[in-house]
Subunit: 401 residues, 2 copies
């Protein structure tokens, strides 16, 4: 039996509140052998107190050795097997600029490029135009029309934009038109089935029209398109768990991921303090709250160990504002590790603490990677975190008699 | 998504070197309650040093409670789910005598038996002939011909031999001809499908011919055949992981298993020292090195606790020769446990250490069963060891964006 069907069968409704606080890229590594990780280094009295009363473990975002992107990392935490539910690159790019993709959409990543008089690419990134120029060029392409479809052309930055085609029966098994080399023309799009060929035809029309409207705009005088992705079919948290779920995130991509699984995306402000204030305000209106904190990832990506320590400490200082609301279940975890030492996402398991009145507390007294190894949740696949949350919230009935 | 497809999707090539050192049957048990295992008893300063810098865990070869043979034990370590990839007994027997089985082969285990004038079996093992006689009898059977096929008859020892039939369209769903009792004639072979019936017909012809050429050779005057197995279809390590892989093993069966997954089987000499010298010589030519050490298993099978301790200590003294080559990932593990106390393979999880610059070191300071229980790899299914090796070697890209 599928995990989601099991949840649908066992779920019970009550008035409990679940908070999932995701510190992006939370897990780390010591910089030197024998040293401490960022989280172990940080002074985190509030997280430590939560740890003493809660139950800890290490979350495997996907499988041993697999480093997730933000999409799979979050899908796992939301209870979706990231190997089953895949979000295409075009959709993620659209989510990342806060474009409201929907079920009739195919989203595509676009690049401006430079072509010569013969139509051959001389620069695959069009000399990296400014973002201002990118916005201007997108405005030109917004004039393009394709009968029977809606088109959206949205700037990302520099040479990058997003194209969304909205229509019925559009497939996404379409080849990239970027030939990955110069000296040749952009490729034609082709689809492997009827639905995808419909998309490919629209794309070829769009690319030709783009060359027409950009004709005088060298070096940004042509486009390549790649990462074709249809809006994924995902049952919502409401469907599966019966939860009214709210997302309180600052960055567009995480808002978008939350919207994909049916969360209400709330206006969160710009700081963690603003997010806490939003949480307080809407506390009575939802059952489940996803709070996203970006900076533990971005400082790790920068390779800035002390900064990562500092942003974790800042998160710790805000934790009492969550606890003051008396959630029934409070989980603090990450979507993956981002060790400053590696300056990138990694496969290392992610420290996790779950607090609830019904948790079986373990002997862990500090929130850190080495400590969580001895926690009561053990090493678990992230996709099981939601069933643990539901259980601790008293929202799951007995399986079988 | 299938783990191998995921590896194909994510793998990246680089110049890293991975060494997988398999101490066969490494795991053990104390002889007395409260005592130490063989590995815990052994003085292993080099393994302990590796453990302090690496990350440890316990490998489950198949599933909890399942004792693997050498085939499934090694397939798991090579990244193949041993419940999906099965190697038939005939093929294993052929590998064990270093017979070079190939994709058109069906391999079969043969026994000499004794039949009376009425053709009924009086001794299922033909009075356990000497191995010299076995060789001689096989030579007689090598005269047998079957039109359209190649036949190979190879001695194993005493009453045992291997028969390999090479041809097109041969199936292996064929019943054993050994009736498992005396007083009856050997059974006829039958196949459950056309391809297997083709094999069965050949087998019946072979068995009749064998009785003819062995007629005057009582007690070795007939044969039974069992364990029909076709050469398994297995994607190679090169296909899946992009690794140029070399096997440095002494015993034929392990060489054969390595060849099945596409490793180059190198001339390894006879001692561990010879194996280390081979490793050094070919270091630049491969990405992945499988080193097999047999004696931790054979001493365990003998129930010789002190001997197992000693061979583990001998392995430890050679470890610096591997480390001197500066591998990027060095793993020491076993394919299963072979406790001296049980004198057999067992299901107990296998102590494992993985060393790499990017590993998240744990608090384990000695290499042993009790210590590995607290290691950062936790208890993991052996089939995930290759993805962990690939990740730590920097050979896996991010999953999803």
């Amino acid at each position: 039996m599928n995990l989601h069907d099991l949840m649908r069968e066992l779920r019970e409704d009550n008035k409990s509140k679940i908070v999932l606080l995701v510190a992006d890229g939370l897990g780390g590594l010591p910089m030197e052998p024998g040293g401490k990780t960022e989280l172990e280094t940080a002074r985190t009295p509030n997280l430590d107190a939560l740890t003493r009363e809660g139950v800890c473990g290490l979350s495997l975002p996907v499988l041993p050795g697999i480093t997730p992107g933000s999409g799979p990392g979050h899908l796992g935490l939301f209870g979706y097997d990231p190997l089953v539910y895949r979000i295409g690159r075009g959709i993620l790019e659209a989510l990342g600029i806060n474009f409201d993709v929907g079920p009739r959409d195919v989203a595509v990543r676009g690049n401006f490029c430079t072509v010569d008089a013969a139509g051959k690419i001389t620069d695959r990134r069009a000399g990296r135009p400014t973002t201002e120029r990118c916005v201007e060029m997108c405005r030109l392409m917004q004039q393009i029309r394709i009968p029977g479809m809606e088109l959206f052309v949205e700037p990302v930055r520099e040479h990058r934009f997003v194209l969304v085609i909205r229509g019925d029966g559009l497939g996404d098994s379409v080849n990239d038109t970027d030939p990955q080399q110069t000296g040749v023309a952009p490729l034609s799009a082709g689809g492997v089935d009827t639905a995808s060929q419909k998309t490919a035809d629209a794309i070829n029309h769009f690319a030709a029209e783009a060359e027409r409207v950009l004709k005088e705009q060298a070096p940004t005088n042509a486009v390549t398109l790649r990462g074709f992705a249809r809006y994924p079919k995902i049952d919502t948290l409401k469907d599966i768990y019966g939860l009214r779920a709210a997302a309180i995130a600052v960055y567009p991509m995480y808002k978008g991921l939350a919207r994909l699984v049916g969360m209400d995306v709330l206006d969160a402000g710009a700081t963690l303090g603003d997010q806490m204030e939003t949480l307080r305000k809407v506390w009575d209106q939802y059952d489940f709250f996803f709070l996203h904190y970006k900076y533990s990832d971005s400082t790790g990506e920068d390779g800035n160990f002390p900064a990562k320590v500092e942003v974790i400490e800042r998160l710790d200082t805000e934790l009492p504002r969550v606890r003051a609301l008396n959630p029934d279940v409070l989980i603090v975890t990450g979507d993956h590790s981002t060790p400053s030492k590696m300056k990138s996402h990694s496969w290392h398991p992610v420290p996790t603490v779950l607090w609830a009145k019904t948790c079986r507390t373990d002997a862990v007294t500090e929130f850190g990677e080495a400590q969580c190894l001895h926690g009561g949740l053990g090493r678990f696949e992230a996709k099981y975190l939601m069933s643990l949350a539901m259980a601790h919230a008293g929202r799951l009935g007995k399986y079988g008699a």
